[in-house]
Amino acid sequence: MKYKFGLRQSLGIRLRMVLLMLILLPSIMPVHGEPVHEEDITEILRCQCGCTMIVKDCSCEEAVNIRQVVRDQIVAGKSDKQIFSYLEKTYGEGIFAVPPKKGFDLSLWVLPGIGVAIGGVVLYRVKHNSSGDGDVFDDEYRQFLKEQGTAGVITDTGMSYEQMLDLEYRKNMGLKNDEDGDSSE
């Protein structure tokens, strides 16, 4: 028997899904803001001594000098853009430890997002394009999940969470499962 969501149940589920989405939503928002402090600037600058570290973390003389330059620029009231422009003029493009979000380098920033989006499309297709397994497998799977005694509600088995916990307990204790679990929720 196929379970169908009623209008009220469906609405309830959707509301909860919205709540969950609200939790997920911030996770796709950028966590860092635009650079405003010395550290925000020096964390995207590459130390020029050849150590492959960022200026913020490196202790070498080069890094100390660059930090001083940034500090001086901030004290002089320069904006972030002006500071970056000054640094690029002084040290060249190689000063940046993070490629800009433009031109060829845009691919660095965009490809991971595209990759994740493609993954989402694949998931969607897996759900909608692959064939179901029919009633025979439905029955088998239902039975299997009962045998497993997995602690979760499977609507089709008509078992409550508590009943599943019972089953899990019995399975783990090696007890014979004498509860059929066919009662409806």
Binding site: Q9, H32, I44, T52, S59, Y141, T155, L165
Partner: protein, 648 residues
């Protein structure tokens, strides 16, 4: 006369190839005798590799500088304890160490694993990999190569590597790397034989390798934090990423494995995950040894890059060709019927893991891509990796929270209500309390919300199970907790590991968002205040210890004017290398780590970088929980309980 180390390697190579031939002959002729002989040959090959390794140690401890490798990485003044690290300090020695571990694992597998067709087909794969490593060792990366003269002293070990962390970090990492050979070999055998049982056979080995990879990364982080001068623990350096990438794909495998176990689904996906994990392990060694990408950790230029690339290509093409041949036999059932089900949450988790792995691989290799297409290498620093991986990590924590309580197949409205009402309430209330307590950082609040939600769902499921045990067994709470966990080690091992990840995430968030620092010079008798902490300098001392001169300032530390302890940040001077190394001093006071690293020192003053890092210890506590959870999960053997009923 051939040198003993070389003789051992060439013997091991010969025996490994012989064992491959024996196993293939046994498979073709279906004759058990070949497998028995092959097993003895494998053990002899392991003994030969062990002999080579023991010999290298003998040369290290004897200060035999006629061996080029020892002349490069050891010296007369190197303390005995750190001579242990010389073995893996360079590319050649570490390759021998890796080969040693593979050969030992192969022996353990043939001795301990069930003697069946799957094993018989997996062993030649392991041996082929072992043989290739032995070939590389002997012909291209030989730690026994001799100089034509005998130097009086060696170059010595890099002072930064003269730390206990470096004695433990590489071996644990290599245990993880070498361990992944076993899942790969069983996967190939399983696909070749059309035997889906391979996933069950490798579960514990994969957990074992994953655990050591995790441990290796953590030892590395701890070493970076306590030894390097920047006060961080993860810099997203290409070589650090190299050990992180297979960790991600292996973690994805543990979750998708459950779908194959439960539903005979995602078979091809699991094959691809194990392939990706092994390829990323090899990519890691390529990045470390080739000098292709600039890294603070790399061993420098080496001529084995081409051989490693070819190895990767052969593995990739070979596996995909085999997969194409067996594609029709790996038909999977539909992995999930409803988006609101545990199956779909596992799938979503894999989606995010793979997205994260792709982003890290892409960011790591991007300098090379830029070099190829534009002729110059850009640097991809931590900011890129943080921006990409932090949102994905938060999404994973949310899924981690959803997973334990959502029903298999299709969750009902009642299930969702029963499961998530309280966790959501607890999470929202905690977040509001956090705001009231003064936390204003949006990222911190998001982490608090998601982490508390995940902890609550895990807690709720455990509490319900414990209550049930109390009711059924009529025992006390502690006894019920023990029985509940002991009866389902796999599930609760996973839960403990999850909680470990959450605690670690809280540590990462707190330490990165709320740390503050200053750099200052303090004279003897003067004080410096940073936040709630005041540092009063009492003096400077100096002494000689083994191969270094130690200079340090003595500081009394006060919190809100109350004395809480003494800290002595030091600078080491290594005369042999003529190199100064700052040895940071880290102490935990309550929730804060005080991190002081000396930038310069004189007879009456010291220049210091002082950091106050909150919640740093949560990272190490979280890591410990991950270890405990993994060991607990490993204790349970998972068999293919569905094979007879659902075999396709």
């Amino acid at each position: 006369m051939i040198e003993f180390g070389n003789a051992s390697i060439i013997t091991a190579l010969f025996l490994s190839i012989l064992a491959v031939i024996m196993y293939i002959s046994g498979i073709i002729k279906k004759d058990e005798t070949y497998f028995n002989s092959g097993k003895i040959t494998i053990i002899l090959a392991s003994l030969a590799t062990i002999a080579a390794s023991v010999h290298l140690y003998k040369l290290i401890f004897a200060h035999d500088y006629s061996t080029e490798y020892i002349a490069l990485y050891s010296s007369n003044d190197l303390p005995t304890f750190y001579q242990i690290s010389v073995f893996w300090a360079g590319g050649d020695g570490s390759l021998l160490f890796w080969t040693l571990l593979i050969s030992i694992f192969t022996s353990i597998v043939v001795i301990r694993e069930k003697k069946d067709e799957l094993l018989q087909h997996a062993v030649p794969v392991m041996l082929a990999i072992q043989s290739y490593f032995l070939y590389l060792l002997y012909f291209h990366s030989n730690p026994f190569d001799k100089l034509d003269f005998m130097p009086l002293d060696g170059n010595g070990l890099n002072p930064l590597l003269q730390d206990p962390g470096m004695v433990f970090h590489p071996p644990t990492l290599f245990l993880g790397y070498a361990g992944f050979v076993i899942p790969f070999a069983f996967m190939i055998a399983g696909v070749f034989l059309r035997d889906g049982d391979w996933v069950f056979r490798i579960r514990r080995w994969t957990l074992f390798s994953w655990m050591f990879l995790t441990l290796g990364n953590l030892f590395g982080s701890y070493w970076a934090y306590t030894m390097l001068n920047w006060g961080g623990y993860w810099g997203w350096d290409p070589v650090e990423n190299a050990s992180f990438m297979p960790w991600i794909t292996a973690t994805a495998f543990f979750h998708s494995f459950m779908i194959q176990e439960k539903k005979q689904s995602m078979k091809i996906w699991n094959v691809l995950l194990i392939l990706a994990t092994f390829e990323l392990v090899i990519l890691g060694t390529l990045l470390t040894r080739s000098g292709l990408i600039d890294s603070v950790h790399s061993f420098g230029q080496s001529d084995i890059a081409a051989y490693i690339i070819w190895f990767m290509v052969i593995i990739l093409v070979g596996t995909l060709s085999l997969l194409a041949l067996r594609c029709n036999d790996l038909k999977s059932r539909r992995p999930f019927d409803s988006y609101i089900s545990r199956e779909s949450s596992f799938l979503a988790n894999n989606w995010i893991f793979i997205g994260a792995a792709f982003a890290v691989v892409w960011g790591t290799l991007y300098p090379l891509v830029s070099d190829i297409f534009r002729g110059y290498r850009v640097m991809v620093g931590p900011k890129f990796f943080n921006e990409v991986t932090i949102p994905l990590s938060i999404a994973l924590i949310v899924l981690m929270g959803i997973c334990p309580l959502i029903g298999w197949r299709k969750a009902s409205n009642k299930n969702l209500k029963n499961s998530y009402t309280y966790p959501l309430l607890v999470a929202v209330v905690t977040t509001i309390l956090s705001v009231i307590l003064g936390i204003r950082s949006i990222p911190a609040l998001i982490v608090a919300l998601t982490c508390v939600f995940a902890i609550s769902t895990h807690g709720l499921d455990t509490i319900r199970a414990v209550k049930r045990t109390i009711r059924m067994e009529d025992v006390g709470t502690l006894s019920a907790i023990y029985h509940t966990i002991n009866n389902n080690k796999r599930k609760y091992g996973g839960y403990i590991a999850h909680i470990g990840i959450i605690v670690l995430m809280i540590g990462v968030t707190g330490s990165s968002l709320y740390q503050y620092e200053d750099t200052t010079t303090i004279n003897v008798g003067d004080s410096f205040t940073l936040g709630d902490y005041t540092f009063k300098m009492n003096g400077v001392e100096q002494y000689t210890k083994l191969n270094k001169i130690v200079s340090f300032g003595i500081f009394d530390v006060y919190k809100n004017n109350k004395y809480i302890g003494e800290m002595d940040p030091a600078m080491y001077y290594y005369p042999k290398q003529d190199q100064d190394v700052s040895k940071p001093y880290v102490r935990t006071f309550g929730l804060d780590d005080i991190y002081i690293s000396a930038q310069g020192i004189s007879s009456n003053s010291e220049t210091l970088k002082i950091k106050v890092i909150p919640l740093m210890n949560a990272i190490w506590y979280g890591a410990t929980l991950i270890m405990i959870g993994t060991i607990l999960a490993m204790l349970e053997i998972v068999e293919n309980r569905r094979l007879k009923l659902y075999e396709i």
